[in-house]
Amino acid sequence: MKSEGPLLQYLMRRIAEMPPDLLAELASDAAPGIEAGAVTGDVLRGLGLLNPDRRWLESLRPAKLDKTSRNIIRVTLVGGWLLADPWFQGRANPAQAQVWLVTVVRDLAAVTTADALVKDDDRREELARLCLKALEFRPQGENAKQAQQRLESISSVERERVIAASRELQEAVRKKRAEEEERARKVREEMARKAAEEAAAKGTRE
């Protein structure tokens, strides 16, 4: 978060004002609708990216839509709408913007919905802050530390990451304990087996 960005409220208002048309039904083989790949590609090209990732853009227009893919694409559209704000023109690194849309937005889609991102204050703030962080900006009036602390306090992605890390740690501990128990069992078996055999000759008494 090296440079100062716009006011956070400005970006949150932008998200809240997302045109309902963009959250209409998505295009698929089954039915016409919003062509998310085309829309997102235009946003990135508008930021100055010459060749947005074609395969990824194609993946935003799947043959069939299910609940999960629909939410991911719609969240991507919300992120795209945010990036299309004029403030980012000439300021945002377009390659970083693409990475954010591909990865961070997808993580966000795993824990919230596109509708919530638009309608819920906290989720709007989270999306705006995540976007600024990814593009190495901080909200106007905040220093880097304040910006990070505020993001951590509201971030559902961060919360999910902490929970996942905790789960991973627990799993690692459980696995290690299981390995230790298995090793202890082998040691006990070996001791029992070897106790029945002769030991090696010793030169002195003890």
Partner: protein
């Protein structure tokens, strides 16, 4: 463990894999001599050629690394300790996963201690992750400090006893250069039951070694005295190792050959017996301090100034009753050693003494254990008048899951065994009663005490005691 089947010569050869033809001849001679005792156990040094090379390196390092020591462990011990903590599940739990050498050095005297109970009850979790299980061998001991133990060991670590013994012998000007045709040593016992075998030791250049029992029933003909004497006279072992009781019996039976040294365990030997042995055999009697869990730790200074700290790869310290380091008499506590299965970290031996770091006039720069509380030899009497040693009782006890015990014979001859068990599961208590009855020709009162040894300093368990007055 005691086995009743005599080992075949072939099996004995197999257990000494590096023995050459001359060594095998020596072994065959020891095994098959007309006056040889009944052999009841197959044993050998089990060393492979790589082990023999490492053994020679150990001997060189032992000689090269003698020097002054401090109350704080040196760098090599700290590095070893850090690596063992990282590898042992029990130590990781007890000492913390990320204890560096620096952290160990800073906190050394505050670190938790370990004890025989850890070996008795948690050997499976004490064994490091990188210990090669396929090399494991097992020693059983009921021990003179009162815990029943199965001690995992490694043949190379056990073979390191020989360079340590050689070093002590060299301090008494005893020649320790051996050849395959020599008879290096007889380990002499004198008790109801003990394992016996002949072998050859790669650590002594393939020279012969026997573990013997002086008990009359162990010898071949009706005149056991004659067979025993002839066997010793024929082979003339250069060294005899044993304990005060067996050496006293050796004197009584008039056997021994012409040893150049007698090496006795640190079970306190009376000055009178020592002098008698020295006069009779015209050789030094060397006190030796060694435990099954630690291996040899000290040898008596040739000038009589305590016991010199023997291995270069252990750290010794003394702790008071509250576990704090003391410059006075304290519990001898060991870190280091060679046993890959039981890495000793601040291991409390149950023996007490003081460490003197001042230089000794004998020339060995290593510190000395002073006022080592020798474990006095205790002798029991069976109801029929026969002598029963602590080893005899230990041989019975070690077959049962006892963690700690106290065996006492009262003035009137009545015996009591107080014990703490390893397990809450059922065990054949009746069989133990029957075995003790058969050994002592009388009933032995068995008392369970779940807190035996757990009541702190005031409850130091004396595992064997006799209140009978011996004539």
């Amino acid at each position: 463990m005691t086995t009743v089947q005599a080992p075949t010569l072939q099996r004995l050869y197999e257990l000494s894999p590096t023995a050459n033809a001359e060594s095998r001849e020596t072994l065959a001679a020891l095994y098959g001599h007309a006056c040889a005792p009944v052999w009841n156990h197959p044993a050998g040094d089990r060393l492979q050629p790589d082990d023999v090379e490492q053994l020679a390196q150990f001997a060189n390092t032992l000689k090269a690394n003698r020097g002054v020591r401090a109350s704080q462990p040196g760098e090599s011990i700290l590095a070893w300790a850090a690596s063992r903590i990282a590898q042992s599940p029990l130590y990781r739990l007890r000492f913390g996963e990320d204890l560096s050498e620096h952290g160990l050095a800073q906190r050394w005297h505050e670190l938790p201690t370990t004890s025989r109970e850890d070996v008795a009850m948690h050997a499976d979790r004490l064994t490091p992750d990188d210990a090669p299980l396929e090399r494991m061998i097992i020693y059983r001991t009921a021990g003179t400090t009162g815990h029943a133990l199965l001690v995992p060991q490694d043949a190379l670590a056990v073979a390191c006893y020989l360079p340590l013994l050689n070093f002590a012998l060299s301090r008494f000007d005893v020649d320790t250069q051996f050849a395959p045709g020599d008879i290096a040593c007889f380990l002499v016992g004198s008790q109801r039951h003990t394992v016996t075998y002949p072998t050859v030791m790669a650590g002594w250049s393939g020279a012969g070694f026997c573990k013997l029992n002086l008990f009359a029933e162990e010898w071949p003909d009706a005149n056991a005295d004659s067979a025993r004497t002839k066997y010793f006279e024929h082979f003339k072992p250069r060294i005899l190792t044993g304990d005060p009781l067996s050496f006293a019996d050796m004197l009584d039976y008039g056997v021994g050959g012409a040893p150049r040294a007698l090496v006795t365990t640190a079970v306190a030997m009376s000055a009178a017996l020592k002098e008698k042995l020295q006069r009779h055999y015209r050789c030094p009697v060397i006190d030796w301090y060694s435990l099954t869990e630690t291996g040899p730790l000290g040898y008596a200074c040739p000038q009589g100034h305590g016991y010199h700290w023997l291995p270069h790869d252990v750290h010794l310290e003394t702790l008071d009753g509250n576990g704090r380091p003391t410059t006075g008499i304290g519990e001898i506590t060991v870190t280091g050693g060679r046993n890959p299965f039981i890495p000793l970290l601040r291991y409390r031996t149950g023996d007490w003494g003081r460490i003197d770091f001042t230089p000794c006039s004998c020339g060995d720069p290593m510190p000395r254990l002073m006022e080592l509380e020798g474990r006095s030899p205790v002798v029991f009497r069976a109801a029929n008048g026969m002598r029963v040693t602590t080893q005899d009782v230990a041989t019975v006890l070690r077959r049962y899951p006892l963690v700690q015990h106290r065996f006492v014979q009262n003035e009137d001859g009545a015996c009591e065994l107080t014990y703490r068990t390893l397990t809450s599961a059922a065990w054949p208590r009746g069989e133990l009663e029957a075995e003790l009855r058969a050994l002592l020709h009388q009933d032995v009162l068995l008392l369970e005490d779940a807190q035996l040894g757990n009541r702190g300093v005031a409850d130091k368990v004396i595992p064997y005691a006799s209140k009978m007055i011996e004539e």
